[in-house]
Symmetry: C2
Subunit: 414 residues, 2 copies
């Protein structure tokens, strides 16, 4: 098999607009003779060269890339007291320019930070939005806050840490290399100096590209479940209306944007591990190995909520997570979940400080996360005993910048 030389690698580094510009395609070559190393030129992969363009009018990082990147960081910034409208506008202009450079694998002009020097774009996406608390600051009339951006209601089972939730600005960064993500957030932080500063930062991971023989396979979370089986798929005709704000929405500056609900959900893994696999499957309503619903079939078989066991009991228990979360019981509520696993070591009492950075994208949280979470709480979702919602945030993730313009221009440019 002919493999590309380093020269060929560099020549393919530039990618244009057009959705996912560089699909990561690679071939396997194993050394059966036990050779200790592969010649350098043969070990090159395309991972670093892949870049992801914004699928206008949407920002990248919501429904593209199709295969979620291996690393992600979610960060919130607060404006410094007294920040002016001109400062906020200048910040969004600076971030828009920096994002164009960073996601193309270029160092922003004057960037003294060499952390990611030598790394390609690595499918970096950076997605930006506004929190409820921004309205009323920097000259923004509180009345301009969209109804979809009203602070989330209180849910009965959550134990939220306010210091690690909310925020005036929200940013989601993801790439296939953690150093590239880190460098990008440092670059945005420097660009914000004097106008906004980080409020909280959390990082997590998804399956690395190439880790699984089937790149389209649903990923697993730290409880071992396939997570995301029922996600809306871009090929479905109602995908855009579920995920993106409609072109005729009353809030003109959010048309083509998406509302992000972020929750840090700790998994109580010691309690979880103490259950039998059969009990874990009853809690979720799906098989752990294949992801098939307990009503039968395979992973993508539609769930039959009326299905019965031979003894006449419900195949999917009354408090099973997938029964309570099902769209059918929530007025058709839907959201695109693209979560990250996190592992922050041990808690003060020696338990795993690990779980899910839950990210759900939707056209309207009132027809997405909110009714689902209310039903899960009210009806005592069996999964509640094994999870704790520790932090929460909501952001209006704006549409892509208009040509020659900047992110948030529809709101800030008037």
């Amino acid at each position: 098999m002919k493999l590309p030389t380093r020269r060929a690698f560099l020549a393919t580094g530039a990618t244009g607009l057009g959705g996912v510009a560089a699909g990561a395609a690679a071939s396997a070559l194993l050394l059966d003779d036990g050779s200790p190393a592969t010649p350098a030129a043969d070990r090159v992969t395309s991972l670093g060269t892949a870049s992801v363009a914004a699928p206008f009018p949407h920002q990248a990082g919501i429904s593209v890339p199709a295969q979620q990147q291996g690393h992600g960081t979610v960060a919130a910034f607060d404006l410094v007291p007294g920040a002016s409208p001109a400062q906020l506008k200048a910040l969004m202009q600076a971030w828009t320019a920096a994002i164009a450079d960073l996601t193309a694998g270029r160092a922003p002009a004057g960037d003294p930070d060499t952390t990611a020097l030598g790394s390609g774009p690595c499918s970096l996406t950076i997605t930006v939005g506004f929190g409820p608390s921004l309205f009323g600051k920097a000259g923004l009339d509180a009345a301009r806050r969209p109804p979809q951006l009203a602070p989330l209601p209180v849910f009965g089972t959550e134990k939220l840490d306010p210091a690690r939730g909310d925020g005036d600005l929200g940013v989601v960064l993801a790439a296939d290399d953690a150093l590239v993500v880190f460098h990008a957030l440092r670059t945005l932080t420097r660009a914000a100096a004097g106008t906004a500063k980080p409020r909280w930062v959390m990082s997590g991971f998804s399956r690395a590209p190439g880790s699984s023989p089937d790149p389209d396979a649903t990923g697993r979370n730290l409880m071992g479940q396939l997570d995301g089986t029922n996600n809306p798929a871009p090929a479905q005709p109602d995908f855009a209306s579920k995920v993106y704000v409609a072109p005729d929405d009353a809030t003109a500056w959010m048309r083509g944007g998406s509302y992000l609900v972020f929750r840090r959900i700790r998994m109580l893994l010691t309690s979880w591990d103490a259950q039998t696999t059969a009990e874990q499957e009853r809690v979720i309503g799906r098989r752990k190995d294949t992801g098939a619903p307990l009503s039968g079939g395979t992973e993508h078989t539609p769930v039959n909520l009326a299905g019965q066991n031979p003894d006449g009991s419900l195949a999917i228990r009354g408090d099973a997570h997938i029964r309570l979360a099902a769209a059918a019981g929530n007025g058709g509520a839907a959201m695109l979940r693209r979560g990250l696993s996190y592992d922050d070591g041990l808690t003060a009492d020696g338990e795993p400080d690990a779980g899910l950075l839950f990210l759900a994208w939707q056209a309207d949280p009132g027809h997405g996360f909110i009714p689902v979470q209310q039903r899960l709480t009210r009806n005592m979702d069996a999964l509640n005993r094994f999870t704790t919602h520790e932090t929460s945030a909501l952001f209006a993730m704006v549409p892509a910048a208009p040509p020659g313009g900047y992110l948030g221009q529809g709101l800030l440019g008037a």
Copy 2:
């Protein structure tokens, strides 16, 4: 170009002994027509199938794989009070068996945890050792502690958190997929139940495979420096004597093992960023972009400590990090550094909680980390102003298990 089908991928999944059994070789294919996705069979890569065998008599994870994996976790366990010699021996036997399964990509027998189901071995390595505090517990005579495992001396500039340092047992796990690392540590933790429990767990990252066009390029740390330029190289004739305990060492059970010094070193990145690039380069003694010493040349040019600037001043300042760390000034002290960057978000005062999980492997810390760190401390290494050593640990990382035997058998099997 012909790309392998999924069938070909699966067929190559089995690898035998022999150093790095599967080199990750891959080819780049870019889609210039903006096609939204690559056919699934064409996106398969070899990342997941790579497995790393122990380079007998050494454990894997020290000098192999040659290219460090993208993710790593360092964990310490403490024995439960009153753990018996038989329990400790059974634990090491269970870990040895689990490590053989996990690093080959197999689920250990009876493992109910599906977290990594569907992922290949992803170059997983798990390296195990004993801390100073183990001696005196589980029937181990305190006098059997090797002289090289004496607790590290106190260094003037450190600010150590004892709760997050030390430990009876030390484990280093690394792979190219974070989920695989997480699953492996959970598996070891379950196997230890009743005998030992986690004391602290920290995770970090290195450059992802394929992120850089040159896989042999030195990696960068979060300050932007190339880090590891002067590492001993396996091709050097004295590599083994620097890194691995000698075949005639007085402590027979450590022959072929290595001593690991672990330090969590926080980088004071806001202060660092406030320096000019020229000042940052004087602090280190190397150029930030190329890694070349300020005495001239390119990255791998030997450092000329006597080199002068045109004005007669030293090219590498008296307090420059590379001057004080140089082996020439430390009695030839050498160690193999394979660190990980970490990003744990923000500290309580809003600063980056990020830096380096420093891992240094050596035949004897008394001729490695200890004299170097003493000199860096005493002579006011300029880098000290931008770093804080927050935690510390030392472990005797044992040799590979003998054929049919278990890790630590030389000590515990008598």
